[in-house]
């Protein structure tokens, strides 16, 4: 990318010399420069009376068109111009230095401002040129970005390693699996067999073994049935603690 050569062509719009919208100007210096440049006035010899008159006429009613602060900036410049005009009218005194022209400070400010105004155009050109070079990611993602849009640190191998360790599914589509009918009696047998091997079994553990709800329900009913018969005892140490299933005293079935 090359920086474009400084462009100087757009500083002055000469066609609307006296029809001026204040809003278009970047403050009083900009307006003053416009008046001077658009009329081909020598900036080092500004006809201050004439320019002051034009300036004051243009900012008439400025208080109603701009904010208080912006209006103040234009009014302050008007005051400066009027003061310079008055100084110019005073007879020159011999004790003044030759080059002490009342306009010199204003000219210095105008030239300095003009430089930066030109630079702003150069920067605008550079900006437009740069904007034509697009970064990667210029085209918006199709999916609106999520809260946690960070890319995942996860390889397919890692993913598959976990996938392979999963329990095998009983059928291909578990959520549509036909339920094998199961009876309370079958579950009764299972409870009793489990309690033959162990003195006690956590109730929860036993319920968990069933992949479908019907099994869990039948297990539960079986446990209730056995408890009623006195074949098992249920014990819980504290509220919401583990519910233990023990062999009952009247274990006549085994």
């Amino acid at each position: 990318m090359r920086l474009p050569a400084p462009s100087r062509s757009r500083a002055v719009e000469a066609d609307d010399r006296f029809i001026v919208e204040l809003e278009r100007f970047q403050g009083p210096l900009d307006l003053l420069l416009h008046l001077i440049r658009s009329q081909d006035i020598d900036i080092f010899d500004i006809p201050i009376a004439e320019i002051t008159e034009q300036f004051v006429r243009l900012i008439e009613g400025v208080e109603e068109r701009l904010s208080l602060e912006e209006a103040g900036e234009f009014l302050e410049m008007a005051a400066t111009l009027v003061r310079i005009k008055a100084q110019m009218l005073l007879p020159r005194r011999d004790d003044l230095l030759e080059d002490e022209d009342p306009r010199s400070e204003l000219v210095r400010r105008l030239l300095e401002y003009e430089f930066f105004r030109e630079m702003a155009y150069t920067l605008a050109d550079a900006e437009a040129d740069r904007a034509r070079h697009r970064n990667k990611g210029y085209i918006e993602p199709r999916r609106p970005p999520d809260v946690s849009e960070l890319p995942l640190e996860l390889s397919l191998d890692d993913f598959l390693a976990v996938a392979v360790s999963l329990p095998a599914p009983p059928v291909r589509t578990p959520h549509r699996a036909p339920v094998r009918p199961v009876t309370v009696d079958e579950k009764v047998d299972l409870w009793l067999r489990a309690l033959k091997e162990k003195a006690r079994v956590p109730f929860e553990w036993f319920m968990r073994r069933w992949r479908t709800r019907i099994h869990a329900v039948m297990s539960f009913l079986a446990a209730l049935e056995l408890a009623k018969r006195g074949s098992i005892r249920l014990r819980q140490e504290r509220h919401f603690g583990t519910l233990w299933v023990y062999r009952g005293e009247g274990d006549e079935d085994s």
Binding site: R134, N135, K136, G137, Y138, I139, E140, P141, R142, R143, D146, V147, S148, L150, P151, L152, E153, L154, L156, D157, D158, F159, L160, A161, V162, A163, V164, S165, L166, P167, A168, P169, T173, P174, H175, R208, R211
Partner: protein, 176 residues
């Protein structure tokens, strides 16, 4: 302007995969078919010139990405966005969903034996899974499936590309 170059500019500027039809939007006289041809041409060019990047098919689109063999060099940079890791629980859940979709929360919880609500929310926020349907029956539970982003992440073209459970064992063993 040559179609190949326009397609190249668009692929370069995009951060996500773009489908040929989308790329064709760049110019009034560019068809999805021409885009496909241009992509094939570019792929060959990059191959021949041994570029550090290549065009990869992802989901139903294409994306220019740096070649995987350069990954170690890129890891050292801060400006390359940092990544985040999935927990073991999230991984297991994702695996279940990938292979069993559409699948309900209850099914997942049955398989993993623990509550899955938090993990599911997390995966959904990351855009890896989404609700694809509702099951019949009591409460009409939500059914989850994987997203296009899931495919993107693993560089898969479709779910068919996932190794089948039978193949998995072998694939992993040979990788060791």
């Amino acid at each position: 302007m040559k179609a190949t170059r326009i397609v190249e500019a668009v692929l370069f500027a995009s951060e996500t995969p773009l489908a040929p039809a989308e790329i064709a939007r760049a110019s009034g006289d560019l068809s999805a078919k021409e885009v496909e041809q241009a992509i094939a041409e570019l792929c060959q060019e990059y191959e021949e010139e041994d570029r550090a990047f290549q065009i990869y098919p992802l989901g139903d689109g294409y994306q220019i990405l740096s070649r995987p063999e350069y990954a170690p060099y890129l890891e050292r940079f801060d400006s390359v966005t940092r990544t985040n890791k999935l927990s073991r629980a999230a991984l297991e859940t994702l695996a279940i969903i990938a292979y069993r979709q559409p699948v309900s929360r209850l099914d997942i919880e049955d398989l993993r034996g623990v509550n899955a609500a938090g993990v599911l929310r997390n995966l959904q926020e990351r855009g890896l899974i989404e609700v694809v349907d509702r099951a019949e029956g009591l409460g009409r539970p939500l059914l989850y499936g994987t997203t296009g982003r899931f495919l993107d992440h693993f560089g898969l073209r479709s779910l068919e590309d996932l190794p089948r459970p039978e193949e998995l064992q072998i694939a992993l063993r040979s990788g060791e």
